[in-house]
């Protein structure tokens, strides 16, 4: 079954065609990776899918609904949550509080309820806290719950960002270069974590430069070059694809 469907999407910045008539599907319960050389349009594509940028043309269908005209907030409410290539944790907030923000879409206390400290909010806050601890246990960061999130080591900040996204209980998790800046050991752990997230029933779409990670965990790979799709296949087939090899290694090879 298809969870996300990108159909003929294009985006142009001035004279640069960042994404050009791109189409692909993401099947429910799979891990799909987007790869391509620098400047291939991967992050732009992520911004288009997650509602940060509107596409010039084409449509994006998520869970049966057209989402290409929605804001990032509306997209998140529908169950698609992203992380960022450059980590964007909330400063001056603890790890716990960062994760708790992730529970926003699953709670409802508004301005009035918050100001009056209405009784129903007490139970809600407790459940938010419990669920957040559950997620921190799962990711092995519960020991840092009270630490200011931006003070953690870089690799752990990445894990917190994934945790914050998981707290939204998304149907689809978009990971923008989850292994960027991580060392070998941390990258392997991140790979295992992503597989585990998939096994929990969350569909994953990721942009990644680390080829060994992509080949190890993805079910399918899409290769972009200059905003266009040049290949879409299983990892093993991608590794043998002549066009992909040419794009990555240059024409001389």
């Amino acid at each position: 079954m298809t969870l996300l469907s990108v159909r003929g999407v294009s985006k142009r910045f001035g004279g640069l065609q960042a994404v050009n008539d791109l189409s692909f599907d993401v099947a429910t319960g799979s891990i799909k990776a987007l790869i391509g050389p620098n400047g291939a349009g991967k992050t732009t594509l992520f911004d288009l899918i997650s509602g940060f940028l509107p596409p010039d043309s084409g449509e994006i269908v998520f869970g049966g609904a057209e989402i290409h005209a929605m804001s990032s907030c509306e997209v998140a409410v529908r169950g698609m949550v992203r992380t960022f290539q450059h980590i964007r944790l909330f400063p001056k907030m603890t790890v716990l509080e960062n994760i708790m923000v992730g529970r926003h879409v699953h709670s409802r206390a508004g301005f009035l309820a918050g100001m009056l400290n209405l009784p129903f909010t007490w139970g809600e806050e407790r459940r938010i806290r419990e669920k957040s601890f559950e997620i921190m246990e799962l990711l092995g960061i519960a020991a840092h719950a009270r630490t200011e999130a931006v003070r953690l080591a870089y690799g752990q900040q990445r894990v917190v960002e994934v945790g914050r996204a998981l707290a939204c209980e998304p149907k689809l998790l978009l990971l923008d270069e989850p292994a960027a800046g991580l060392n070998m050991r941390e990258t392997n752990e991140m790979g295992r974590l992503i597989s585990r997230i998939r096994d929990m029933g969350v569909t994953v779409l990721l942009v990644e430069h680390d080829m060994s990670l992509v080949m190890k965990i993805s079910d399918e790979v899409v290769v972009l070059s200059y905003g266009q799709k040049i290949a879409e296949d299983r990892p093993l087939a991608i590794q043998k694809n002549r066009e992909v090899i040419r794009v990555y290694l240059g024409d001389d090879q």
């Binding site: 960022f84 918050g114 909010t121």
Partner: protein
Amino acid sequence: MARRYLPVAAFAGLIVAIQLATFFTGTAFHLTQLTMTAYYSLVIVGLCMLIGYAGQISLGHAGFFAIGGYVTAFLTTFNLKLHPGVFVSLLSKSGMLVARPDAYGGSLLTVHPWLACAAAILLTVVIAYLVGGPVLKLKGHYLAMATLGFGIIVYRMVLGTGFLGAADGISDVPGFPLPAGLAITGNSSARVSNYYLAWGLVILGMALLLNLVHSRVGRALAAVHGAEDAAGAMGIPTARYKLNTFVLSAVFASLAGVLLTHYNGGIGPSEAGVMKSVRYVAIVAIGGMANLWGALSMSLVLNYLSLRGYFGTYDDAVFGVILLLIMLFAPDGLLRRHLLSDLKRAVSRNPAEEEAS
């Protein structure tokens, strides 16, 4: 939870202690300025929520204060007897009007203060939503200029409008009746009760805002302030949250304007002036921006000193210099530095206690 309300109780104790001190030293006249300080503090804690927690500056909050004050002043002094009609008699029959003697022995028929207050707050909410919608889409210089511009428009309107008293403002505003024979009025016989009414309202306002800061909404606002796009990606409607906070702080300012106008018995255009708005921002800044207690304590000290005339003709200059020095040398606010660590300890203990219980 006790940790949240303990300072509130301590502050209430301080208010009682100040009153007792003036009672025993025979300096009860100080209570007048302290009562006025309370109403200005209401504006400041509301603005602190907007600037410190939602991260949006407003250089036009004196405008909202003036809207509240002028609406109630106009409605409670405008003699409807001179404008009879179906609408007036309908209002009169439904008990929304009050008759009272005027200063010259004649009689006045005006809107009841409660209805006037409701009208003032309603108008403020409408204006805040209309202005806030487009204004909060702006950032940086543009946001500062736009809110400053809003404040100046209100100032120019009240200054140039005849029925709002132009440069003289509106005087002879009646007291604001409350249950149990109490009233918000500047009569010296009601000085003590008014002092407690005003500070009681501030304490109530503080409790509401502290609750908000520690709620789901407060967490979302902190997230919006810290990393707006990431907050949006977590499903927080960032624009709506900023707008709601703007309206909330406008209502605090407007309510303060309504009640202080009834307390003072009038309002003048200087209440809408740019320097008032700048002063509110200065006090929030010196209080540590995202620090409700800092803003409240600085407001208590500085407004009181200013109202007692300690700054003389240098009144505006004092606030200008404060603003300048804070922004040059401690842009995170004066009370921020050591309070931050306290706050962190408080936050980190709080959940542990709740788990244990």
